[in-house]
Assembly symmetry: C2
Homo-oligomer: 443 residues x 2
């Protein structure tokens, strides 16, 4: 076939930065599938160096490829493509900028770096004509960024909503199943290896916020950085929240949500902006995201013409992430062989990012109140005064007090916060048990 | 951003062949999103002609673009890209070959043509350096072919299984819900516009077989044509089949299944081949594909490194299909602007396609038998003699006879057919009520 003729082209020489779980799998697949990759690319893909911190810790890869000099490897004239699976901002940023500036294509899985410095990296790539691919940075093996960047390039994406962090999803799934609290479930997740020793990046939503920034940038052709993303982690989610969710046929997931928002400007003209947020939310148990458990990821994409799409698969892990990296590597290598280029940064729309206080969502509020006449009326009056419309109410008497659950229609975050503050101060309100956003239902 | 500088490039001039439901949506989106598409491509995308059979029937598109001379439009020096949404083999094949031979890129939604003549079309594209894209040919708006061709290009796909025909899925979903028979449900589907006046292509599985051939070709880097696909439609599915499925917590779906098969050759060496089939199958109600109802499509992809992935969305309809076409149009237009090329045919693996008689699946067999001693023993003996292993048996006495349900372990199609023939001939077997494959469970 075609491959036979073109495999005579010069090999594509690859430098790998980092050789942990993902890097080891990349080395394995590059070796095991060398012939297949050559046929797909049109020439051989050769690994010429692996930069690691401690070479003697990597007995599973060829010793002659190991080096501690990442900068030197990147600068080597024998390198065409740099694959980066180290993570972190510096010194990785410096190395990748050097590679791109020198016209070397980059494949990276580094969501934190992209969520902060994508603009700078793309500018370096553009200046030299190099490619920058990063499918593995979001949702592991799930082909998601390429569909957003390319398949839906003729459509207008309105919303992206998904579960993009496996650690928090594992913890929330376990809390839902066992009824246990957050702290003990986190301990169990750490023990089983599902949470890192320092779980901050996952449980406080930083990882998901980086991914949301990347998704929003691609979906809305606008530069969105991690700092633009409203972020709430899962550490405040309680077993009481889960009990409240369960009573209403819901469960709780940490969602990354990117929305195109249509409003009317002061001059009456229509305005578009972007809202990006990461927070726990109650969703109906019948919602497809409710069934996504453990370390799996799933992302919904809504576009004007395409309608609703869903992508599902393994969001992390060595082999799945390596699969995404190698898909990108084949693409950039093929671009080198045929002389083409992958998609560049697309940020022409340059939409404003809305602050969370202006975002509207539905809320579930669970209160412990005194069990006497007039309570509901007084609480309802506070909601009315802040123009937060109530969709459903459930009151249940107990021994000495009552449980009052209120689900609102879509309301601005700021209005809801003020309402809850006022309600919490009412004399017959003993406790605000749970305040949580509700997603996946009509507003 | 980047777009401003490069929009000075020459416009990309597009000819549209066909202007039915999909074509009309393409014209609408090209017009409404002209500025956005220009920013994404790097230059304007201009519709320069629309070939239709009866120009006076298309009042919703600009009259000055309409022509009845498709061949002339394709040959025009003013056309860079041909978008085809007519369907059928001839004269479409001739027109698209002419376009590709002249170096014009082609975007098509024509699954029947690709399932028969992809090789020839790709050769013409290769010879002239043109692009051939066809995301809309399978699963409508769902980004599926680009992920298979590109995102998973660094992985080894082992299986693709999905629901790829909306009409049959609508009919089977309705039969499941109402308990009605096939003929009346088809009538209802026709009345509601979900089935064509001549539903043969859908209900007899031809449409799904074309799509399966395309999926298998991309997944396994092997030319697979529609004729290579084992095909059973849904017209033989009865309400008794659904009752039998329901009793075991299953439902029935028309599945397209593409598998990489590993066997041992006569010389003891490992051999790889490909098996591609379309047939109704029972799947557990808990399987994600069981919840895909109506006109939706969903496809599972299993790859060695990536693991299991799922893609879900609208499989047909004007706007969703137009979204997929426009995504391809942006890609081929961008390739023209930057001087690159999309992926070519990848058929280097050239695996053999296995006949269905060699395929192994699990089976569900439902029999009406005489309610007396020794029946089960005799039936089981027939299965044993053909080396078809039984996984589960359920026998229920009724007034004068009994219902005997057998679910097998994975067994070769040929062995199962012989077994059923023999069992049907046993004197105490009154009727073979249902024989159906079982998928989505461990074998």
């Amino acid at each position: 076939m075609n491959s036979a003729a073109s495999v005579t082209a010069k090999p594509i020489r690859v430098a790998l930065l980092g050789c942990g779980t993902v890097g080891t799998q990349i080395v394995r697949l590059l070796t095991e599938q060398a012939d297949e990759l050559a046929a797909r690319v049109g020439t051989r893909v050769e690994l010429v160096g692996i930069a690691v911190r401690r070479p003697n810790k990597h007995r599973e890869v060829p010793a002659e490829l190991l080096t501690t000099d990442a900068a030197g490897l990147v600068a080597s004239p024998d390198v065409d493509v740099v694959v980066e699976v180290i993570g972190g901002i510096e010194p990785t940023r410096t190395w990748l900028l050097a590679a791109l500036t020198a016209g070397k294509s980059v494949v990276t899985a580094n969501k934190a770096l992209l969520a902060e410095h994508a603009g700078e990296l793309f500018e370096a790539a553009d200046a030299s004509g190099a490619d920058l691919y990063f499918e593995a940075a979001v949702a592991g093996a799930i082909p998601l960024l390429r569909p957003l960047r390319e398949s839906l390039a003729g459509d207008r994406i309105t919303r992206v909503m998904g579960i993009v962090n496996g650690t928090t999803n594992f913890i929330l799934s376990a809390m839902d199943e066992t009824g246990a609290g957050y702290a003990e479930t986190l301990d169990e997740a750490s023990r089983l290896g599902y949470a890192e020793a320092d779980p901050t990046a996952d449980v406080d939503g930083f990882d998901a916020a980086s991914k949301a920034a990347i998704l929003a940038s691609l979906a809305f052709h606008t530069r969105v950085t991690a700092g633009d993303v409203y972020r709430e982690g899962i550490s405040a989610v309680t077993s009481a929240d889960f009990a409240a969710a369960r009573a209403l046929g819901r469960t709780i997931k940490l969602l990354a949500i990117c929305e195109r928002v249509f409003t009317t400007g002061e001059d009456g003209a229509p305005e578009e902006s972007v809202a990006v947020r990461v927070h726990p939310a109650m969703i109906p148990r019948s919602h497809p995201l409710a069934g996504v458990s453990g370390a799996f990821n799933a992302v919904f994409v809504e576009a004007e013409a395409a309608g609703q799409l869903m992508f599902y698969g393994q969001g992390a892990g060595g082999a799945p992430t390596a699969s995404a990296v190698l898909g990108d590597l084949v693409a950039v290598a093929r671009n080198r062989v045929v002389g083409g280029r992958g998609p560049r940064e697309s940020a022409y729309a340059d939409l404003a990012v809305r602050p969370i206080a202006q975002a509207s969502t539905r809320y579930h509020i669970s209160l412990d109140v005194a069990d006497r006449a007039g309570v509901l009326a007084a609480v309802a009056a506070e909601f009315a005064q802040h123009e937060v419309s109530i969709a459903a109410v459930r009151q249940e008497g107990r021994a000495t007090d009552a449980s009052l659950v209120i689900v609102t229609h879509s309301a601005p975050d700021a209005a809801l916060r003020s309402t809850v503050d006022k309600v919490a101060g009412l004399p017959f309100v003993h406790d605000v048990v749970s305040v949580m956003r509700v997603e996946g239902e009509d507003s």
